[in-house]
Symmetry: C2
Subunit: 328 residues, 2 copies
Amino acid sequence: MADVASMAGVSSQTVSRVVNNRSNVEEETRQRVLSAMRVLGYRPNTAARALVTGQFRTLGLISFGLGSFGNARTVDAITRVAQRAGYTVNMIAIESQTEQAVHEAFDQLTMQAVDGIVLIEAQILDTPALRLPPGVPVVMADGDASHRHPMVDTDQAFGARLVTRHLLDLGHETVWHVAGPEDSYAARRRAEAWHATLKEAKAVVPQVLFGDWSAASGYEAGRVLAERPGVTAVFAANDQMALGVMRAMIKAGWRIPEDVSIAGFDDIDESAYLSPPLTTVRQDFDVVAERIVSLMIGQIETGTAPSATAFITPELIVRESTGAPPLS
Amino acid sequence: MADVASMAGVSSQTVSRVVNNRSNVEEETRQRVLSAMRVLGYRPNTAARALVTGQFRTLGLISFGLGSFGNARTVDAITRVAQRAGYTVNMIAIESQTEQAVHEAFDQLTMQAVDGIVLIEAQILDTPALRLPPGVPVVMADGDASHRHPMVDTDQAFGARLVTRHLLDLGHETVWHVAGPEDSYAARRRAEAWHATLKEAKAVVPQVLFGDWSAASGYEAGRVLAERPGVTAVFAANDQMALGVMRAMIKAGWRIPEDVSIAGFDDIDESAYLSPPLTTVRQDFDVVAERIVSLMIGQIETGTAPSATAFITPELIVRESTGAPPLS
DNA sequence: CCCCGTCATGTTTACGCAAACACGCAATCA
DNA sequence: TGATTGCGTGTTTGCGTAAACATGACGGGG
């Protein structure tokens, strides 16, 4: 920076002003500085700048891994939106799902110099309400409203209601459910809404089967359901598990949707090309990401935490895996 | 830090020594400092530390997005490995596939204070050999060996050979290929190896169809192939496209594998649960990530760039989507 | 017994930048 | 005309840390 200054014949402070686009620099001077910067290949040192300003233009992102499709899409969308807003994303993947692990990640991230932290809390932690050290803006995705941080999420309950109703409307007496892991907020909300919808319709509420979001776990659940008489409609809590259920049903000799209807949740790109194409609920991850980042940046720049909880409405996508129940 | 020092009755330098685990601090003093740190909730300021040491313990990661499974898995594995090595990952997703975009990402990342950059170059850029400004260690994944940076990748050619041979060995006269986008190195290598294997076997080399890795593009290609007489075996360059091809074939009334055999590449978690389960090539993303990060850290710590190119051997996974050709 | 090396600790300095303040010049107003 | 304001620019300072150097106590070998 000093080199640039002396080359342009100005003080280092003026160089700083040019770099930061301050208004009070004469145009001619600015040009001289800019060309000196170009000639010398000057790049500002973020560490030094951060030391002075206390701002890093970086967002921390804590997630439980990119293995699940929903997480990957959310993370992808967040990085894109953040980038457009001039922020970089510093990512940490948590291995174990304990509050301690979250705290460690949190510590590492705050030390690592971030302006705010997005917590994609796919799993329910072992404490009822995660208590994070104050001072750093936090936005949660897919978390628990009991935390005292702004939260953004798809309206899981609405989506689950949509599928369940869809299946009931087709004439099914009831709908079976393959839920996500018990320690997932999203899974819990979907299961609760499914349960409530059946109750409202005065339908029998069958026992829930639990999976872990993976196709393999869906397959296991599907094997159980395939043996059980009277199963005509299954709502799996995500598309990957739905795929597993479908496989188990087909292997057991059932036709979809003639014998069993199957629906999923997420609308991953592949769902339209399964055999048969999967009826599912589409989540708008881009909108979720957009909200998350704007809440985050709002907090960073104003310093105040809006305690808003934003729900994004999902959409039912009806394909060929659901139909009327067989005439018994 | 000064507060910690005065509370522990030592100089700030001693606090620094404790924080950095230097040996020459008496045990008793260390304990006093540690407890003072705990009481005051002290967290070292990374910016200040980086300013002095020039080290950030952060890796930059440039990728073309998490949309494709391969990328997502690679990124996931890299963050985990990096984290274990004490590094954070700063991610940038590139929107357009031009060299300029890569340069911008590169600039942003070097300014953003990273010790090294991992470039997952899923796409061939518009210039033959990407020229990056020197000074920052770079490791490429899935790139072009013509770049002058160490590179790590799955042995794409070997994998493609494996599937193609498998299909030929089953008795198919030839194997059709649905390739990935023309501007992808991985796609190109897989297609070349497929081509070479057919040549060696003196089989007719059919025209290549191109997709873009998505199930939708696989479906389009599949529709074309389903119309064409004599197609008994199709090798799709990834599992998502294979899934699309399968759907098109089934929709056209063909049975898999009785009428047509279909194979993919990647072995995503879902492939085992498709109907029928997909024969594919398994890439070991974890090993790739491990190599990438260790090469990276080696470069950072020694300051020298090993120009090694590491290829990780993939494995053929035979499932039910491939079989002998129909007796014509 | 003295000198020197070793070890724990303290003091000073520099990292690169932007905030705060200072300065001088020109334009504006009473 | 003198006081006042605004603007472009320079000077000084401090952000929190680790490296480099300094200090003083202690112990062992010649």
